[in-house]
Amino acid sequence: MTKLDSKIPEGPIADKWTKHKNDINVVNPANKRSIDVIVVGSGLAGGSASASLAEMGYNVKTFCFQDSPRRAHSIAAQGGINAAKNYQNDGDSTYRLFYDTVKGGDYRAREANVYRLAEVSANIIDQCVAQGVPFAREYGGLLDNRSFGGVLVSRTFYAKGQTGQQLLLGAYSAMARKINTGKIKMYNRHEMLDLVIVDGKARGIIARNLVTGKIERHAAHAVVLATGGYGNVFFLSTNAMGSNVTAAWRAHRKGAFFSNPCYTQIHPTCIPRSGDYQSKLTLMSESLRNDGRIWVPKEKEDAIAIQENRMNAIDLPEEKRDYYLERRYPAFGNLVPRDVASRAAKERCDAGFGVNETGEAVYLDFATAIMRYGQEKANILHLENPSDAKIRELGEGVVEAKYGNLFQMYEKITDDNPYKMPMKIYPAVHYTMGGLWVDYNLMTSIPGCYAAGEANFSDHGANRLGASALMQGLADGYFVLPYTIGDFLADDIRTGPISTESAEFDQAEKDVRERLDSLINNKGSKSVDHFHKRLGKVMWDKVGMARNEKGLKEAIEEIRQIRDEFYEDVFVPGSQNEFNQELAKATRVADFLELGELFAKDALERTESCGGHFREESQTPEGEALRDDENFAFSSNWEWTGDPRNSVMHKEELTFNDIELKQRSYK
């Protein structure tokens, strides 16, 4: 399989999705009862797909490695979900959301997919409200919105700083309803370790029961991978500890093309790291940039005084502060897209203006917002000549109502009071735009194997806008995949149940057992984390926020070296037939060690800068990312050939008929 057919429907962009739904094959309700679908992952994409497919009548088997489907990492999304509802009457539309998303992705996404995403976005909000998702409301009882980075309208729906949680619990409860009727069979604490292909079609998986260690065979007519992103290849990221690439990588090794692995989102507002023991990084929602102002000292001597704990942020007078985002990007200010904000923070810190002991932090300051809100509140209360202290108190109350849980989270981690002292933040790995290649139907290059949500590459190009991950996960799972999968399954109405007693299942199970045995029997001297941390350091130093040819070539060599050492010297305690968290980690890190190399290789070959991928060799005189549309207006889709060093790249050219390609500007 070398030819990629994206199956984008003909016709004007606004009509493509409707036309496609009318043209594709449909499975009649009675026949759906004889068709089985496996869904791996229970986050927004997997949860919503499982529920919707079961409601339609398919027999669904859903797998998650957590102890409950409600715990998938979508739950940690804080700020919100975009939808082109135009409730705020600020001129929002499907086209504007489409345009913002393509531009925000630095013109590296497929137009037709993004348009469809924008088109179904409004339905998502309707669906979630109908499920009882408690979005934030105004006093009139109608839904409230806020703004996110890279756009000029308010289209983000939210539930305090816990939007992902509320949306996921909506999908989880829709699943629970169908688990109750038996249409979904739920497998908690199970990890997919291989994809099984029979006669060229994805027909099942090999999974390990993480409690007993039992290796299980599961068959179905189609397999949906909704397994999230691979940010944990960096060891430190905002992903959950268990988030991993294994399911997607195993599909890749069986023939699914892996697209744009180097497109990674480094989120600008995370709590800076504090020491070598650190196990993960914590995000502070982008919504904070609605009201927080980002700054560093103007003078280096002040920065040094702050770094050495000789000065406090609040003692530095206004005129000695550099609100560098407002200075560099007056139109968007603190709400520039994430890639731009992250690079700007790195630029200031690299120049020596960082504000903590490590020099890797900038301030996110709410003092202005607190006084502004306090004054508004004082006006509402008709207070005569309120004191500054009173205004501040009122303002802190308003800020608490908006962001209370985020401020509390910050305080618990850092032991600093963000109402009184500006937060310290620094960029961290957050999301991966790359993933499995999918066509317009969300099918990978393996027939019958689908990828949804963050696991696929389809909608965000080289940079994702805030509040768009939740939108994409639910769009794929509720409104796209349940229709498009019918086109494939329509051929299977007479197939009957897929047997797990076949040579293909035998072989896949044998491979999995051998992999696990070799890890357990290796009896080396170093822990899995030892290798994971080393991989993460190479990735962050050389394949992180800024990349260059020399560093990437070194990274590829170093990752190979770490991988070789891993197989020689890793120690995994215990046995295969028990609850063994180290073994589960080992299988995941083994796959990260292969992905890491492909990631660096992809970054090396793309000599342009675009979105989150910043090649130092390709920048404008002002230090902005410089795209090269003539040579790089394509997605890089990698085919596995046995070793990452020999992976073969296939291009899918990106054509833009409805949006003019422009150098991105947020000035």
């Binding site: 957590q66 409600r70 715990r71 940690a76 009882g141 829709a174 629970a176 981690i413 180290e582």
Partner: protein, 249 residues
């Protein structure tokens, strides 16, 4: 900091468990509690011993996976947080810390500090939802205005992360706070009205079947709850249950 840890070790559900003693040294006060356990486990693995099994995932207080009973309190001595948000600055150098799994009949131990909370999932499956299929034709999200106070109260109840601390804190191992949070969320919203009575009856029925205890209003659940779910929800569920019992559909 140097600490003595007394940790419950149990190979699997059928084995007998016991408290084991471990020493850890050079612990930074900025570490999270789970990072301290990572250090312990790294040391155990280096010695070829079996690391302590404990559940954890997001490590930012929202997934509800972490679940340790620390010095007699679920999620440890601090308030309104999960174990993964607990930091070592809450402990003193030289202190002895007791770490146990959630203890409840309805949460059987899987290994060491890991327990099986699928009973919570089954309670939600019994009725913790609005029966609405996916459809591009549900009515517009703004068609039914919802008073802000109702929406906010529903949200506060909906923030439950399903960790089980309420059960672990309760001397009766009651799940009333967990169940009432979901019942309240949907009872407060117009979308939840149609199934209101069946929901509370079915969820309470399942709760009883799972072997959770009764509520005697001590309030320990709410104090230990990382999301500070209010006892008012239990009162609301009792009302809902009473109404549904005497005035069934």
């Amino acid at each position: 900091m140097n600490l003595t840890l007394k940790i419950w070790r149990q190979q699997d559900a059928n084995s007998k468990g016991a408290m084991h003693t471990y020493e850890v040294s050079d612990i930074s006060e900025h570490m999270s509690f789970l990072e301290m356990l990572d250090v312990l486990n790294e040391g155990l693995v280096a010695k070829g011993e079996s690391p302590v099994a404990f559940d954890h995932d997001c490590r930012e207080g929202i997934c509800g996976m972490c679940s340790l009973y620390i010095n007699g309190e679920p999620h440890g001595p601090d308030r309104a947080i999960t174990t993964c948000q607990l930091h070592m600055r809450k402990f003193k150098d030289g202190e002895t810390i007791h770490i146990e799994p959630w203890r409840a009949k309805a949460f059987p131990v899987i290994k060491d500090l890991t327990v099986d909370r699928s009973s919570f999932d089954r309670i939600i499956q019994a009725g913790g939802y609005v029966s609405v299929n996916t459809s591009g034709n549900t009515q517009d999200a703004n068609a039914i205005p919802i008073p802000k106070a109702d929406a906010d109260n529903a949200f506060d109840a909906a923030t439950c992360i399903g960790c089980g601390a309420c059960v672990a804190a309760c001397k009766n191992a009651s799940a009333m706070l967990f169940v009432s949070a979901k019942v309240s969320q949907l009872a407060l919203l117009p979308q939840g009205q149609v199934e209101r009575k069946d929901r509370v009856m079915n969820m309470v029925d399942q709760m009883d079947k799972e072997g959770f205890g009764n509520c005697t209003n001590t309030g320990a659940c709410s104090i230990e709850c990382p999301k500070e779910i209010s006892l008012d929800n239990i009162a609301r569920m009792n009302r809902e249950f009473l109404i549904a019992s005497v005035l069934p559909e």
